[in-house]
Symmetry: C2
Subunit: 464 residues, 2 copies
């Protein structure tokens, strides 16, 4: 086992461009059968090229124009699609060690998940479980994600080791948690976590109150004030649970209107996950307060919850990203499954097959997610000056042909294994479907060990 050291690799990223660049040459130039830019004009190039300098996109356009450029490294991805990496806007990646345990139970959170976390979550589990989960995410094309959990320092260390971009929140609850005796202990941990990681080129630390039903109004106000002081984001589960909705709707009309009564909480710092029990007034309030939304269609459906009015949030102009949720909630951690499900559930909800055409669905999985994380200016689409966060998708497979409409192919036919290479800030994270900076075998072995450690407690729980 390795002891993580925070921040030691940060330098590698910021200097990558300087080391590799020749004067006036690109660090990397990739040509591909097609490039989807996801820019505001939906430009796509068939074939196309993308050039990278100092971690940013220095040019993108038709392949014929790329030939004249000088570059330190060239990749000819002639039968690949090049597109922005996926942005997963809400996860709990350290829960990978529990995936598949205690399924289909009506009161799963309180009966199984909270006890499991109390007994089993350690820094060691958090680190290795996160690293394991990040391999699945990176290999299926995710370049940025948002996460909230305990021992978030360990999640950050694993994220840095893999090389993905992330917004990471230390989870705060009123009662004791795996990493804090009480609320104020959690706040101390969070403060230290934020100080350790703030300014990292890929990782943004933030505060993550668990939910309106686990953090009281006084504590939520304290968190809002602290976020202001530290100039960080806030992440929270909002309007996800039936019992939560019943409790707050009674007195305040809705969960969101209850939260609006808490000083400073509803602001553009907030990334709210789920947002299931919302009415039209809540959607308008979400827009008015500048809140961003992480939509988790798979985990919500698996729990038998109502379908989030995601398309209505979009129509109202609310930044909306897609998300897997944690591996205990949504199981598969690839964004392909979420992207495929998202328009289907919205079409069912609104009984309208023309709603959310494929290109708009894909926007939510890329630029929409970046906007939800508050980094839409930096990533989520392929535009000159933005960070070079992109993926190559191998088209040489039966599920990927024929192509009449690239967006339809990506949204409805693409599967995780089609992703072959992944780049974050111009650095290669996945190369021909293998992790580039990580020993896959070691990570698999560590997960086998964690499973062994957890299984007797989990088996006892499920028998109880």
């Amino acid at each position: 086992m390795r002891t993580p050291r925070y921040g030691q690799n940060a330098k590698d990223f910021s200097q990558a461009g300087i080391l590799a660049a020749l004067p006036e040459a690109d660090d990397l130039l990739v040509t591909a059968e097609a490039i989807l830019t996801l820019d505001s004009e939906w430009q796509l190039y068939e074939p196309g090229y993308l050039a990278v300098r100092d971690g940013r996109i220095s040019a993108v356009g038709p392949a014929s124009e790329g030939g004249r450029r000088r570059a330190s490294r060239r990749i000819d991805a002639g039968t690949s699609l090049l597109m922005p990496g996926f942005v997963n806007s809400h996860t709990h990646i350290a829960m990978a060690a529990f995936r598949g345990a205690c399924e289909d139970a009506p009161d799963r959170l309180t009966r199984y998940i909270f006890p499991m976390e109390k007994h089993l979550v350690t820094p060691d589990l958090t680190y290795w479980s996160s690293l394991f989960c990040l391999c699945e995410m990176a290999k299926s094309g995710t370049t940025s994600f948002a996460d909230m959990y305990y021992f978030e320092d360990e999640v950050a260390a694993a994220t840095e080791a893999v090389g993905l971009r992330a917004l990471l929140g230390e989870t705060l609850v009123d009662q004791g948690s795996p990493d804090a005796r009480d609320f104020s202990g959690g706040m101390d941990y969070a403060q230290g976590f934020i100080e350790a990681w703030k300014g990292h080129p890929l990782i943004s630390p933030c505060l993550a109150p668990h939910a309106p039903y686990t953090v009281d109004a006084r504590h939520l106000a304290e968190i809002a004030a602290r976020a202001e002081d530290l100039d960080v984001n806030i992440m929270m589960h909002v309007a996800e649970m039936d019992f939560e909705n019943e409790r707050f709707a009674m007195a305040s009309g809705s969960v969101l209107r209850y939260l609006d009564g808490i000083e400073g909480l509803l602001s553009s710092r907030l990334l709210a996950a789920h947002m299931l029990f919302v009415d039209d007034a809540d959607i308008a309030l979400t827009k008015q307060r500048g809140i961003r939304v992480a939509h988790c269609p798979a985990s919500n459906a698996k729990s038998g919850r109502p379908i989030c009015p995601a398309a209505r949030f979009q129509t109202a102009g609310v930044p909306l990203g897609l998300a897997t949720d944690g591996p205990l909630s949504g199981n598969g951690m690839d964004m392909e499954g979420i992207l495929n499900l998202f328009p289907k559930l919205q079409k069912v909800r609104e009984r309208n097959r023309a709603l959310l055409p494929a290109h708009e669905a894909l926007r939510a999985a890329t630029l929409g997610g970046a906007e939800a994380l508050g980094i839409g200016e930096e990533t989520g689409s392929l535009e000159v000056g933005k960070k070079a966060d992109f993926i190559l998708v191998d088209l040489d497979d039966f599920n990927m042909r024929p192509v009449y409409d690239w967006y339809s192919t990506v949204v409805y036919a693409m599967r995780p294994h089609n992703v072959s290479s992944v780049f974050v800030e111009g650095n290669q994270v996945v190369d021909t479907s293998r992790m580039k900076r990580i020993d896959e075998k070691e990570v698999m072995a560590e997960m086998a060990r964690l499973r062994e450690d957890c299984s007797s407690y989990i088996e006892g729980l499920s028998r109880a």
Copy 2:
């Protein structure tokens, strides 16, 4: 291009056992990390073995017992899961050549699909497009499927070439179709098709009236009588469309009750696809008449249709299988995506997370599908005496670990690429993710040609 010849390979299958077997020895013995039998007692073996003789399962049990048996071929699949192959109960595989065209249009069937079929469907397109689609299906673990289309002879030839098991129906409509000038021409084609393929060890031909809104009552009665004469199944789209429901519910109460007025149609010969616009009386009638149901959750959702009350059909004791629908409707042709979606949509529909636990969901994708095809006695579960239709799933990937509950892993976390080998009637169809009997490159090249042939017409249509 190759001219298909029907039936020439049929002998290979029926004699495979005889050729390979030593006296009292198994033809094949596979050991695996786990075997899910899907039998009535949900037996699973960790680790387990499965033995095959003459195309049938000769034994299945704990691995420790397999060591004593003699076998011509042994496979040690130590980090694989062995389970029944998937059964896809409703497809139009020849439509792969059109996948992704003209998406998200409100009146897609009449505005785009019917004209496309009229102009572009030929025997050549049907054969190669089917072969292409079968590669995606086989490689993702489908061992049996039901299909209805035009030139179904070509679909059968492609199916035989690949080596899957199928129930194949020649599509019949009142008006002219790609392969018949009028209804009676279609019936003549169907009669010839059935005579050519009846008795094939893997392929069961049948009659497939398109839908209640494209085949009138007189013709439906004629089809029912012919099915009786020929002793074959009937496949039909039922209660799928809004306009269909409006038309028949007005006069008869429901689409199904309208069909019940047609002599001989609603019987245990019928496999009805979709069944969206049904009430409790229709569900009871479905059970009473012995009808089987093919549930297509992905294509229905993508079209913004109501969610089929699939769990209610199951509760009523109706045989229910899962299906992708055609590649133009559901796009991805892997059953993993459908299996993953099925319980989610049912849980959402009934607002009940405990509904359809993972093992029951998996049953619908395997044995339930076999029952829907009328072959539940022969395949769909791993039991001694049944056909050896099974798959190996590689567990050595990040999405497949850890395992606490095999059913949850298969239903919610498994993806198409995890399937490594596929066996139908003991014959290997896919070997370490490659088609065994098919030249993949040739099939890919033929699809590129078809796409080239179709694109100008399809582009013209979508601009119109």
